[in-house]
């Protein structure tokens, strides 16, 4: 199993005391599988995604990726995980403003020493970014920026792709194009995909669907 | 306040605004005070009287050059005592101040010197007579004097010979200055013929004319309410002379006194009120309005004259400033003289 999540708990400290966002989540995801994560705003979708991506640590429970428990990892270990094994696409602000598009796309792969120029070129081409390589992120449209982010995430060929409403900020037409490209490319790499989305239509296009309510799987 | 200005203020109680020196008028502890019916002892009394606060040797002269231009000349030595003793050294309490001036119809040159009495830089000896401060000096005897002064602007070298007797003002030389009885010892030699050389920026001039020496000493010259004075020494063409002064009081009144001097030197003193002097015209000089034309009367001697300043700008830019300059007399009598005005602030 690519990903196994067991009994994950997470609460945030607030002014009124601890606020439990996740209360015992379990899920699994195999290689090549796609899973949609839905739920109301504030139900803890992003929090769960962050925990799986090693961006934050759970209070309790286990997250096993490729057989190793990431809760046991330190800062360095989690950074290593983020570099090579897991790729994350956020709704916005995915890119490094000081680097050109080409360097943004190559960034994560080169950090992870998993840079494959041919694959990167393929990604760039498929994403229709070839003419944009010399630009800075701020010179691109929102749709283009998200395509750069997806290409960047897929460049190191991660085993697990996490996406948090990657098209939530785009208009419908653009969103559809970007989503098609993403699903197509993920499928080609054989990676597992966990995607947070609001859209029932989108969720329907993925293999499985998981609904969060009050911090638990409904 | 500058130290020098303070020294001068001390030196010149008479000429400063009397209100600033009220202490001097009333308090004379330790100093001798003029008393009525004086008897003078010459030549000793031509010399200094260290036990009186203030004293002066005061020469004014009306001169003419060969081309008829009128000049005025002043040579004055003031003595001011910090304590009623003489003595030698820097600490001796006698201070001296010299004023010298030359007035032409268009210019007025002034110079001032200061010195202490104990070191030989300034002083007066009675016999032989010598009065000096630095290189300024007046030497000889009272009937024949040699007088010099110098400044960056002018020098003069004069010879004076007396052509008449000494004249005693007030009551035989006891000159009362206020209704309250303030007084000084005061005599004059108004009968000098004078001649010599004036060196001015525009050349040297041989001049001749008449001069008037005033000698006065006291310890309590002004009353509390007196703010300044106007002093006239007039020589009429007929040979008679007149000295008159008017002390200005804060109450708007004046205190006047006069001496009529007949051509033979016989003096007649006139009490307060007999002599009157009224300003007719003022002139602005040194930012002050100064009367430069006066209506002067002594009815008992038939004097009813107009007195005009020859140079209205004869302002003495000395540490304590005042006006002093030659005048022309017209009216019932004609002649010339000198006018001194103080207290015009």
């Amino acid at each position: 199993m690519l990903l196994t999540v067991q009994d994950i708990h997470k609460s945030y400290a607030t002014a009124d005391g601890p606020f439990a966002v996740l209360r015992g989540i379990d899920l699994t995801l195999g290689a090549g599988e796609t899973l949609a994560l839905t739920g109301e705003s504030g139900s803890g979708k992003s929090t769960l995604l962050h925990l799986i991506g090693g961006l934050d640590t759970p209070d309790r429970g286990q997250i096993i990726i490729n057989g190793s428990d990431i809760a046991a990892l330190d800062d360095n270990g989690r950074a290593h995980l983020r570099r090579g094994t897991v790729g994350v696409v956020f709704q916005q602000f995915n890119l490094i403003p000081s680097l050109k598009v080409a360097d943004n796309i190559a960034f994560q792969a080169r950090l992870a020493n998993q840079y494959d120029p041919a694959w990167t070129a393929t990604l760039t081409d498929r994403m229709g970014l070839t003419s944009q390589l010399g630009k800075y992120p701020e010179q691109l449209s929102g749709g283009q920026q998200q395509r750069v982010a997806i290409a960047r995430t897929l460049a190191p060929k991660p085993r697990l792709v996490l996406a948090d409403e990657p098209t939530g900020n785009l208009d419908e037409g653009t969103a559809a194009i970007v989503m098609d490209l993403m699903l197509e490319l993920v499928r080609e790499t054989g990676a597992g995909l966990l995607m947070v989305t609001h859209s029932a239509a989108l969720a329907a296009r993925l293999g499985r669907r998981l609904h969060l309510r009050a911090g638990q799987v409904a | 306040m500058n130290a020098k200005a303070l020294v001068i203020a001390l030196l010149l109680p008479l000429m400063a605004n009397a209100q600033g020196f009220a202490g001097l008028g009333s308090d004379s502890a330790g100093f001798s005070v003029p008393a009525p019916n004086p008897t003078f002892d010459f030549p000793r009394d031509h010399g200094p009287h260290d036990d009186y606060r203030i004293e002066w040797w005061y020469v004014t002269a009306n001169l003419r050059s060969a081309d008829g231009t009128a000049y005025g000349l002043q040579w004055t030595l003031f003595r001011s005592a910090l304590a009623p003793t003489g003595g030698a050294g820097w600490a001796a309490p006698q201070l001296w101040m010299g004023h010298a001036a030359v007035t032409t119809p268009t210019d007025h040159y002034v110079s001032e010197r200061l010195a202490r009495g104990g070191i030989g830089q300034a002083g007066v000896t009675a016999d032989p007579f010598s009065a000096w401060i630095d290189d300024w000096q007046m030497t000889g005897d009272m009937d024949a004097l040699q007088m010099t002064a110098s400044s960056p602007d002018f020098t003069y070298d004069m010879t004076m010979t007396a052509d008449g007797p000494l004249v005693f003002h007030g009551d035989n030389g006891f000159s009362v200055k206020s209704a309250a009885g303030q007084a000084s010892y005061y005599y004059s030699q108004p009968f000098y013929d004078i001649s010599g050389t004036l060196s001015l920026p525009d050349g040297d001039f041989a001049v001749t004319g008449t001069a008037w020496l005033d000698r006065e000493w006291s310890s309590q010259p002004l009353a509390d309410n007196q703010t300044g004075w106007d002093w006239f020494s007039l020589s009429f063409d007929d040979g008679a002379k007149m000295m008159g002064f008017r002390l200005q009081q804060t109450d708007g009144q004046n205190y006047t006194s006069a001496t009529w001097i007949a051509p033979d030197g016989t003096a007649t003193a006139f009490p307060n009120g007999a002599f009157t002097a009224a300003p007719l015209m003022t002139h602005t000089t040194a930012n002050r309005d100064i009367p430069v034309r006066w209506h002067v009367q002594l009815p008992e001697k038939g004097v009813n004259v107009i007195v005009d300043a020859i140079n209205p700008d004869a302002w003495m830019t000395t540490s304590v400033p005042y006006w002093e300059g030659p005048v022309r007399v017209t009216g019932s009598h004609t002649g010339h003289g000198y006018l001194e005005m103080t207290g015009y602030e």
Binding site: S41, S46, H50, L55, D56, D75, N76, A79, H80, L81, R82, R83, G84, V88, F90, Q91, Q92, F93, N94, L95, I96, P97, S98, L99, D103, A106, F107, Q108, R110, L111, A112, D164, G168 | M1, N2, A3, K4, L6, V7, A9, L10, W90, A91, A92, P93, L95, L114, A115, R116, I119, Q121, W132, D134, D135, S150, S151, P152, D153, T155, S199
Partner: protein, 794 residues
């Protein structure tokens, strides 16, 4: 409306106290540095003025006895009675205090700032019962005397009436010198006829010391100017950031209908209020700086120039004024630019601070053009400048031009480096550094100026020291100098010394005119002392051989410059025409000087006989020799000068100068460091969105923190490497242009790599210290804060 607006504007500061602090602290520090240096300068100058006023030194001619002994009081009376307007002065020491007795009745106005308030006081003063006048510190050294504290009196001096002074000093009837009033009567006898024993010393006579003093002040003034420039950059930075940060508030307020003009007026008023507070704090801080520095400055000046400078500081109202004026003026300049920008900003312009605007926008082009223009002006001035104003214009153009060019140069350098970077981390690091540049450039400019100022002034002071000690070696090459009072004594000295020392070198000179300039011509004996020790700015071959053969003449730099005389030119001297064979440096000398051989001198000026002698001997024997000469032929030690003693003394003086310079170095660097800290803290909030993606993609926070620190150090290093040539240019301008214009001689410039290395290290440490805290904060950013960047609700 006004109240609500103010509340909205001010609320920004309550929410961001750190920004308020940096604004106030930046302004206060800039003011402090400026007013501190000014205060030190002003205090030293005030001390000279007081000394000059106390003694009439430099202002008036003086009469004194030829032999330097006091004159009889009768001489004074003789002169006065001859029409000379002179005023007596008696002086001496009592408990180490210089007691000066004056006669207030004859002293020229302005001599003896004696303050008397009442008639009674002056009377007491004149009759010798009055007090002495001295400042508080001096008064403490005369416990038994009645002292009136008067701050204007020169330190270490007390003034009193001449009579009292004669008594206190045990000099009854004696006078040391006479001050000659500038305006004298029309006619008066010649001095020679009435007081032949007196000589007149003209007012300018002692002024070569004054010139050296001026040189030191120039040094301090240059520092003041530079610290001002540094300060202005900091103020400008602080204000600029304050405006940037409040753009969203401004936009909202305007959108709500607040008129632009009212907004501008309110913001200007608010800033002026801050400037007043910060300026006040700055003046106090400057006072502290000055108070800490002053003892060293005082010691320097007292040692170097014999000028007594008060070691304590008075808080003069003029500092308050100038300090507040600097704070307000600097704020006004900085704010007017920002307000102007705001007034032209479209209402709906992005409320986001535009991080890249400056690097990409028109501003950079304008700045580049201005920098280029200023640097071209500086270049032209460097080639043509002569005169003090041109010299300072050169300094200004060079400094501001370089400061403006700095961000552009750094940007180019970083772009080139990042293009060459191998690893993606390095590539990102350089690119990110380049992106930080606009936000840091003001702080870096301040660092550049601070560094350059330090390099420049250190070079100047050190060059001065090297030159001056070399000059002492040259001029005081003999181990001992002896002066005779008359020809008999001179003969006795020759006879006594010749068998006892290695060489007796007569020193003889006349004052004459060369090329219409006042020149002192020396006749020198052929000896290796000259050949070994003298160095030349320009030298013809074999110049000593030809000069000692009586064929050529050597002249000093002053004469060479003023008369435009060069090697190979000829000058007439009496009957002879001589070719110039060499030009030598002659520091601190206001007039021309020339050197010819002893024989030629004797031929040209047969009446002059030497009265001073340089004696060559083993250094260790000097002390003995002086003692024995005093015992054997009665030449007192006061007639000798021990060269080693002078050198040790002047080196000590320079060491103190360095203390002052080093203290100012550290201070300016600290201020620049503060500017960096301030900029980094301000940028910190903008940094999180820039760094979060890199973190999400697999970089650790610790790594990011380390890179932040490295970035600051690298930028400082780049800046320092640019500051070095700039500082050297600055030093060159000070030494070769400003000094020549001010004093007529050029100081050779030496390089001090070790000093520069140390300064560079200081700059890096300052930058590292400044970056430490922001970097540490960054490394500790909670992941949640980083994640917020991506959160949908943002």
């Amino acid at each position: 409306m006004t109240r609500a607006t103010l509340q909205a504007l001010l609320s920004h500061w309550w929410r961001n106290p750190l920004q308020l602090f940096t604004l106030l602290a930046g302004l206060a520090l800039a003011t402090a540095l400026w007013s501190g240096v000014q205060a030190v300068n002003a205090e030293a100058r005030a001390s000279y003025r007081a000394a000059a006023a106390t003694l009439g030194e430099g202002q008036y001619d003086r009469l004194g006895r030829r032999d330097g002994q006091p004159m009889d009081q009768a001489t004074y009376i003789t002169l006065r009675r001859a029409g000379w307007l002179v005023s007596p002065v008696v002086q001496g020491r009592l408990n180490g205090v210089r007691i000066v007795g004056i006669d207030p009745l004859t002293a020229p106005a302005g001599i003896g700032p004696v303050r008397l308030t009442q008639g009674a006081d002056i009377a007491d003063f004149l009759v010798g019962n009055g007090p002495l006048f001295a400042n508080a510190a001096t008064a403490g050294r005369l416990p038994d005397l009645q002292i009136t504290i008067t701050p204007d009196i020169a330190p270490g001096s007390a003034i009193t009436d001449i009579g009292a002074a004669q008594r206190l000093l045990g000099k009854p009837g004696q006078i040391d010198s006479l001050i000659v009033a500038p305006v004298q009567p029309r006619e008066r006898p010649d001095l020679a006829d009435i007081a032949p024993q007196l000589v007149r010393q003209s007012a300018q006579g002692g002024s070569d010391i004054g010139r050296l003093t001026d040189s030191f002040h120039l040094n301090l003034t240059a520092f003041g100017l530079l610290s001002f420039a540094v300060g202005i950059f900091i103020v400008n930075g602080a204000i600029g950031l304050a405006f940037e940060q409040r753009r969203p508030v401004v936009r909202t307020l305007r959108a709500l209908g607040l008129p632009l003009r009212r907004l501008i007026v309110l913001m200007a008023a608010e800033l002026m209020f801050f400037a007043l507070i910060a300026g006040g704090v700055g003046v106090m801080l400057g006072y502290v700086i000055a108070a800490l520095l002053l003892p060293d400055v005082a010691a320097t000046l007292r040692g170097l120039y014999g000028a007594d400078v008060s070691g304590t500081l008075q808080l003069r109202p003029v500092w308050w004024l100038s300090g507040l004026a600097i704070a307000l003026g600097g704020t006004a300049i900085a704010a007017s630019g920002a307000l102007w920008k705001m007034s032209r900003m479209p209402l709906l312009a992005s409320a986001q601070p535009r991080a890249l605007a400056m690097a990409a926008g028109q501003g950079a082009v304008m700045q580049g053009a201005a920098a280029a223009l200023l640097l071209v002006i500086a270049l032209i001035l460097a080639l043509t400048a002569d005169g003090l104003i041109a010299g300072f214009a050169l300094l200004g153009a060079l400094l501001i031009g370089a400061a403006l060019a700095l961000p552009i140069i750094l940007d180019r350098v970083l772009a080139a480096t990042s293009a060459r970077a191998k690893s993606i981390t390095a590539q990102w690091f350089w690119a990110d550094t380049r992106q930080q540049l606009p936000g840091l450039s003001l702080a870096l400019m301040a660092l550049l100026l601070a560094m350059a100022a330090n390099v420049g002034v250190s070079t100047m002071v050190s060059s001065f020291r090297l030159t001056f000690t070399a000059f002492l070696d040259q001029r005081l090459a003999s181990e001992l100098y002896v002066s005779a009072q008359d020809a008999t004594q001179a003969q006795a000295i020759i006879a006594y010394a010749t068998p006892r020392v290695d060489a007796v070198l007569p020193i003889q000179s006349v004052e004459t005119q060369i090329a219409g300039l006042q020149t002192e011509v020396f006749g020198a004996r052929d000896h290796r002392t000259y050949r070994d020790n003298w160095t030349f700015l320009n030298a013809a071959p074999d110049l000593w051989d030809t000069t000692f053969a009586g064929q050529t003449i050597l002249i000093n730099e002053q004469l060479s410059r003023r008369a435009n005389l060069r090697i190979g030119d000829t000058v007439p001297l009496q009957s002879q025409t001589l070719t110039i064979a060499g030009v030598y440096g002659d520091y601190g000398n206001p007039i021309g000087q020339a050197l010819i051989s002893e024989d030629l001198f004797a031929g040209l000026y047969p009446t002059v006989t030497p009265q001073r002698f340089g004696l060559r001997m083993d250094r260790s024997k000097v002390g003995d020799f002086v003692t024995r000469m005093a015992a054997d032929i009665g030449i007192p030690a006061s007639q000798t000068i021990n060269q080693a003693g002078i050198k040790a003394f002047s080196l000590g003086v320079f060491d103190r100068t360095f203390t002052v310079t080093t203290a100012l170095n550290v201070l300016t660097l600290a201020v620049a460091g503060f500017a960096i800290l301030m900029s980094l803290l301000t940028l910190a909030s903008m940094r999180v969105p820039q760094l979060a993606p890199a973190w999400a993609m697999g970089m650790t926070r610790a790594q990011l923190g380390r890179l932040e620190l490295l970035r600051a150090v690298l930028l400082a290093m780049l800046t320092a490497s640019l500051a070095l040539p700039l500082g050297l240019g600055l030093a060159w301008a000070l030494l070769a242009v400003v000094n020549v214009a001010a004093f007529g001689w050029q100081l050779p410039m030496y390089l001090f790599p070790a000093d520069y290395a140390r300064l560079g290290l200081f700059a890096l440490i300052a930058a590292a210290l400044a970056a430490l805290w922001p970097a540490w904060r960054l490394a500790r950013t909670p992941p949640a804060d980083l994640l917020k960047v991506f959160s949908n609700e943002r």
